[in-house]
């Protein structure tokens, strides 16, 4: 266990292992995303109330779910960085912020597009949409704070603190916004208990959520590799890497 932890803290090891994971995971993820999209777009029946516009669910919900999970990934990385002073945790934190922001953005935009045919308006101040918007602000705050520091090690620590503060606040913000807008749809996916969504629609949705998680992992590794290269550019292992690649 500890040796695994120790290895995780080692940039060259992480760089190598992430390379070999990405070699199969990235193509697989891309294929899965396309397959899931085709399944959801063309091979599922329409919703009896919303018609075909509901097909946006197959990107909207996975993006929203993974965007929220991404914040927790970031916060856990932040906690590891502050407690065990692990440099790789900083890198992971920095790497997950733009992905989370992008996914939140997707969730917001697809939500707005879905809203037009469903509610007749692009934007309603519904509890979930508002919460997603706030999540986007939290992500942008992390990115902005990181970019504002010249000393990248300090930047990582500062973002770790901010991510943890945000994590404590997210449930409070969500509950407040929820209360503020109590007229919201009840959660329609439940993993336990009876599900209100038909299996023919649920399976592609679960498939897409999995694919989005895989995509998050891929992008996280890609970002970490890019960050590692620029942070560790003065070290021997990068020099060897450059020499090999030439």
């Amino acid at each position: 266990m500890w040796s695994f932890f120790h290895k995780l803290g080692s940039p060259p090891w992480l760089y190598r292992i992430s390379g070999s994971i990405l070699r199969w995971l990235l193509p697989l993820t891309i294929v899965a995303l396309f397959a899931g999209a085709v399944w959801g777009l063309l091979f599922t029946p329409p919703d009896f109330r919303q018609g075909n516009s509901y097909r946006i669910i197959y990107i909207h919900v996975p993006a929203a779910v993974v965007a929220l999970a991404g914040y927790y990934v970031m916060a856990i990385a932040g906690a590891i960085s502050l407690i065990w002073k692990m440099k790789m945790a900083d890198v992971a934190l920095r790497a997950s912020a733009p992905i989370g922001a992008a996914l939140t953005f997707i969730a917001l935009v697809t939500g707005a597009i879905w809203g037009k045919p469903t509610w007749g308006t692009w934007w309603v101040w519904d509890a979930r949409i508002t919460s997603m918007l706030i999540l986007l602000f939290l992500y942008l705050g992390i990115i902005a704070l990181y970019e504002a520091y010249d000393n990248k090690e300090a930047a990582g620590k500062a973002c770790a603190v901010l991510a943890l503060v945000g994590t404590v606040n997210i449930p409070i913000i969500y509950k407040s916004v929820d209360w503020w807008y109590s007229l919201h749809q009840p959660a329609s996916i439940k993993f336990t208990g009876e599900s209100t969504i038909d299996p023919s629609m649920l399976y592609p949705l679960l498939f897409m959520i999995t694919a989005f998680y895989a995509l998050f992992t891929c992008c996280l590794l890609l970002n970490m590799r890019a960050e590692l290269l620029s942070r560790e550019r003065r070290t021997g292992w990068i020099a060897r890497l450059v020499a090999e690649s030439r």
């Binding site: 502050l82 705050g141 504002a148 300090a154 404590v168 606040n169």
Partner: protein, 225 residues
């Protein structure tokens, strides 16, 4: 020197510094007044309409006033090296940060709460809602000061921290806005306000417990960078 004495020392020091430059105390109050004047000009002077918006206007202006002053919380102590001395003092930084926030709250939140009845009458808010407004302001502005302190601690080492701090902490301010506003609206409508004040109080307890920890970490990082 024990921790309580040190806590009081910092509070006294911050208050004394503010008293020596009174405009620093007046600034948030003047800002508060001027922004409140903007609303009748922007929304129209109809008393009934103003009264509907008054609770929201109050809270938004308090948020902004707090945000403006948050950036200056540690700025001068950082620039002149006092912050370094504080970090080296071996006094618990948690308490020192809390002391700085207490002084900030006394100078912004408490003062705004004290003058708020005047503005409430100007905006035609029901007089019966004024005690609730003041109570909610007292509790809520303490939470705002604590959260603002976290933002200030994280950005004090940066040259362009002013704009950044609003991006960092405005999202965190929202629960206070929602429940502070809710309290005043409930009071105007004759509904019980205790639940709202209790929630604000709970937020304050949580913020007192955790925000100074984040501030202590943030200050160490800022002095380091």
């Amino acid at each position: 020197m024990n921790a309580t004495t040190f806590f009081m020392l910092i509070v006294r020091r911050q208050l004394l510094l503010a008293v020596r430059r009174p405009i620093e105390i007046a600034n948030p109050l003047l800002f508060f007044l001027m922004v409140i004047v903007l609303f009748p000009l922007g929304l129209g002077p109809a008393p009934a309409q103003l009264a509907t918006f008054a609770p929201g206007i109050f809270w938004i202006v308090v948020l902004l006033a707090n945000l403006l002053t948050a950036d200056t919380l540690f700025r001068s102590d950082f620039d002149d090296g006092s912050l370094e001395q504080l970090l080296l003092s071996r006094q618990p930084l948690y308490l020192s940060a809390l002391a700085a926030i207490t002084a900030h709250w006394l100078l912004t939140g408490v003062l705004l709460a004290l003058v708020s009845p005047v503005f409430a009458l100007m905006l035609n808010l029901a007089p019966s809602a004024i005690p609730t407004l003041m109570g909610a302001l007292l509790l809520g502005s303490a939470v705002l000061s604590l959260l603002g302190g976290v933002g200030a601690a994280l950005t004090v080492g940066l040259k362009r921290g002013g704009m950044l701090i609003s991006l960092l902490i405005l999202p965190l301010y929202l629960p206070v806005l929602i429940f502070g506003h809710g309290a005043v609206v409930a009071s105007v409508g004759g509904l019980p306000v205790a639940p709202y004040l209790a929630i604000l109080g709970a937020m304050l307890c949580l913020a007192i417990a955790l925000a100074p920890l984040a501030m202590a970490l943030g200050l160490r990082i800022s002095v380091d960078a």
